[in-house]
């Protein structure tokens, strides 16, 4: 279907509602295949952007191109698009089979073919044993699979998934995160997937666009956006627990964290002018002191929050009046109020200029 290799493109798309900017002007050419992830917190504009892509909303200015055609004015009915929402939407009075079959029936597909295609997609999603049941008799995860099956049963050129796993329990999310990329691996369609969770973006891989207050701050391969953010806003959007940051200064060949420590400037950054910078350190690069490795800086802080998530431990501590977060693999019990020592692994640090631009990325 994607003869010319071009997928979905936003050209100068902008949306104003009552004079207020909801989506800032943006140009993005999404990857024609694989996952395109929209990552950002609630109200960053993910759903709005998807509604624009689907044709459910009209942009104030700009164009939407799909397969090298301007589809800006084309109604949602005439576009080959399917959408799955956070709340599983199924027809309660229809069986699982009829739920999945409904888009094919609307399209006038022959009965025998409907049976075959529903059977195939149900098999893929593990729904075969429950085709005769009603959605209400299924678990939440199964209901969401029905909604997914309905979106996938028709050959659709564009699939929009708006936080489809948000309402599922975490073990199911884990299984579906693994399953979803496999489902789309052989399909010739553009997938756009919205999520608030950085971990989900990373696990689904593909490409990621980070969103902040209606603005796409960066778009690229997911791993690149994560490890080489263009600015502080992107780095923050792509860190959970939140990224640690602190003002530091560069003086010759040293970075100085006032009152705490100093460490050598990495060779590739020696050419940067002296002056103030912002240090960015993700929580897993702040470790309990036992883990101290070469190139790390030891600091002491008062523990304010300590959490265990099953296989990871998260500790918040106070460092010179600001809160820092450390994430360690394994189960560690910290006492709130106690003082503990942590090692900052500055070999993995990100450095930002005072205007927020990331200055530590390798020139690509």
């Amino acid at each position: 279907m994607t003869q010319d290799g071009s997928g979905l493109e936003l050209r100068g798309i902008e949306l104003l509602v009552d004079g207020k900017t909801h989506i800032h002007p943006v140009d993005v050419a999404f990857a024609p295949r694989g996952f395109n992830i929209l990552l950002g917190p609630t109200l960053a504009g993910k759903t709005t952007l998807m509604r624009l892509m689907a044709g459910l909303l009209k942009p104030t200015s700009g164009q939407i191109w799909f397969h090298a055609q301007d589809v800006t004015g084309v109604s949602v009915r005439k576009r080959q698009v399917a959408m799955v929402y956070q709340q599983f939407i199924n027809y309660g009075h229809l069986s699982v089979f009829d739920n999945i079959a409904s888009p094919l029936r609307v399209a006038g597909v022959a009965r025998a073919q409907i049976k075959e295609r529903v059977g195939k997609i149900a098999e893929l999603l593990g729904l075969s044993p429950m085709l005769d049941r009603r959605p209400s008799e299924l678990s939440g995860g199964q209901q969401q699979r029905v909604a997914l099956a309905r979106a996938l049963v028709k050959d659709t050129a564009l699939i929009l998934l708006d936080e489809p796993l948000a309402n599922l329990d975490y073990k199911l999310r884990e299984a579906l995160r693994d399953e979803l990329p496999r489902l789309f691996a052989d399909r010739d369609c553009t997938v756009v997937y919205a999520t608030t969770e950085p971990a989900e973006a990373l696990l689904l891989a593909g490409h990621t666009a980070t969103l902040h207050e209606g603005r796409i701050t960066q778009f690229g391969e997911t791993g690149t956006v994560y490890r080489q953010p263009v600015d502080l806003t992107t780095a923050r959007a792509f860190s959970d627990p939140p990224m640690n940051s602190a003002p530091i200064s560069k003086l010759g060949a040293e970075f100085k964290f006032p009152g705490l420590a100093s460490w050598p400037v990495p060779r590739r950054l020696l050419g940067m002018p002296d002056g103030p910078y912002l240090l960015g350190l993700r929580p897993h690069h702040v470790k309990p002191l036992a883990d101290r490795s070469v190139g790390s800086v030891a600091v002491e802080g008062r523990v304010s929050i300590a959490e265990i998530s099953g296989s990871e431990s998260v500790v918040h501590f106070d460092l010179q009046g600001s809160t820092w977060v450390s994430l360690t693999h394994g189960v560690l019990r910290y006492e709130v109020g106690a003082t503990a020592t942590f090692a900052l692994d500055v070999t993995h640090a990100l450095y930002f200029a005072p205007d927020g631009r990331c200055v530590s990325n390798d020139p690509a």
Binding site: D169, Y170, K171, E174, T196, P198, A199, L202, L203, A205, T222, G223, Y226, R282, H284, S304, I305, A306, E307, I308, S309, G310, S311, V314, H316, L327, H329, G330, V331, R333, V336
Partner: protein, 359 residues
């Protein structure tokens, strides 16, 4: 405050339970020490709410006894048990101020206004509600109202136990982690026996010193967060706690030697006889699997980047084995073998860990 004991407990919602599946709680003995922080953790439908209702007195068990200290309270109503409960959704009086909402349970007990005031202010400050004490509850967000519900649950110091039933459901994710940790701190300050019911492992492990994991009406493990991670008593715990969960591989045992697909595997299990005819599995968490020169030969199927590490999915025959790799570790490209850390490699017979030491 009291120690709580559940003895020989069984419960069925059916009038005439016939088969095993008719029982929502399938025989259970549990003790919660006085002043302890506990969690009941399990997936929806596992029986944890049934158990909670039995402790609070909303439900009379089909069989068994509930003790508060030395006293048999099985026949007592919820009101007679002197407990406090915080539910999933806020229970507040909209027409009252935040202050009056917090004071209500105390005034009900005839406490003097002076003592009421001291206690309300103490709890309000612990929950960061000081600034809103004069506000009408009606104007608050769902978060704000739930904080009042928490405050009302915590305000009385003379209760036997405080029970929380999924109390953070309506809380915004940004506030959730603050409150999770806050509740732990509150327990330490107040010292009341607390039982926290949730399906969320982070909430359970963060709050509790002892976590009771329930599946299908059975307690599969009662232990500390470290126990659940390092020594899952049941394969369900290995799967449910931690992400990704424990690897489970079909095993055979001959003359005390454990094998997976013909390969000898050293485990933490004692050389005790395993029950004959039992389904045997080796369980090892991805954290305790590493690449090695010798061991179980595998093929790498998929590598997923989580940002902080990589989940490597490997295969040996029909079996999938996952392991974790640090972000700077190099992924082997030649033929690869896996090694399991013997101290953290368990043997399971029909789902239960072999060599369970008495608790």
């Amino acid at each position: 405050m009291a120690r709580i004991d559940l003895r020989n407990l069984r419960h069925s919602y059916r009038a005439n339970p016939q088969q095993e599946s008719d029982w929502a709680i399938k025989r259970l003995d549990l003790s919660w020490a006085e002043g302890s922080a506990n969690a009941l953790l399990g997936p929806s439908g596992c029986g944890k709410t049934t158990l909670l209702n039995i402790v609070s007195g909303l439900l009379r068990p089909t069989e068994g006894t509930v003790f508060f200290g030395e006293r048999d309270v099985t026949a007592l109503s919820a009101a007679e048990r002197n407990i406090a409960q915080v539910f999933q959704f806020p229970v507040v009086y909209d027409t009252m101020s935040v202050y009056d909402n917090l004071a209500f349970p105390l005034r009900n007990r005839g406490m003097s206004e002076r003592d009421v005031d001291a206690r309300v202010r103490e709890i309000a400050s612990l929950l960061d509600l000081d600034a809103t004490l004069g506000d009408r509850a009606a104007g608050l967000t769902a978060d704000g109202k739930q904080k009042i519900s928490l405050g009302r649950g915590l305000v009385r110091s003379d209760v036997n136990v405080i029970m929380f039933d999924e109390p953070l459901t309506v809380i915004d994710p940004h506030l959730k982690w603050r409150l999770r940790s806050k509740l732990k701190e509150l327990h330490r300050r107040l010292g009341t026996t607390m039982i926290y019911v949730t399906h969320d492992q982070t909430e359970a492990l963060t709050f509790a010193d002892q976590v009771v994991v329930i599946n299908d009406g059975v307690v599969v493990q009662a232990g500390s967060p470290v126990d659940l991670f390092e020594r899952p008593q049941h394969t369900f715990v290995g799967h449910f706690i931690g992400s990704p969960g424990m690897n489970l591989l079909p095993a055979t045992v001959e003359n005390g030697i454990v094998r997976f697909a013909g390969h000898v595997i050293a485990t933490a299990a004692p050389q005790a006889a395993v029950p004959s005819g039992a389904r045997l599995e080796i369980g090892v968490r991805p954290e305790f699997v590493s690449f090695a020169d010798t061991g179980v030969p595998v093929e790498i199927v998929k590598v997923s980047d989580t940002g902080r590490n990589r989940i490597v999915e490997t295969r040996h025959g029909q079996s999938t084995i996952r392991l974790l790799l640090d972000e700077d570790e190099v992924l082997p490209t030649e033929s690869v073998c896996l090694r399991f850390d013997p101290s953290y490699t368990q043997l399971y017979a029909d789902g239960w860990r072999v060599g369970t030491e008495p608790t």
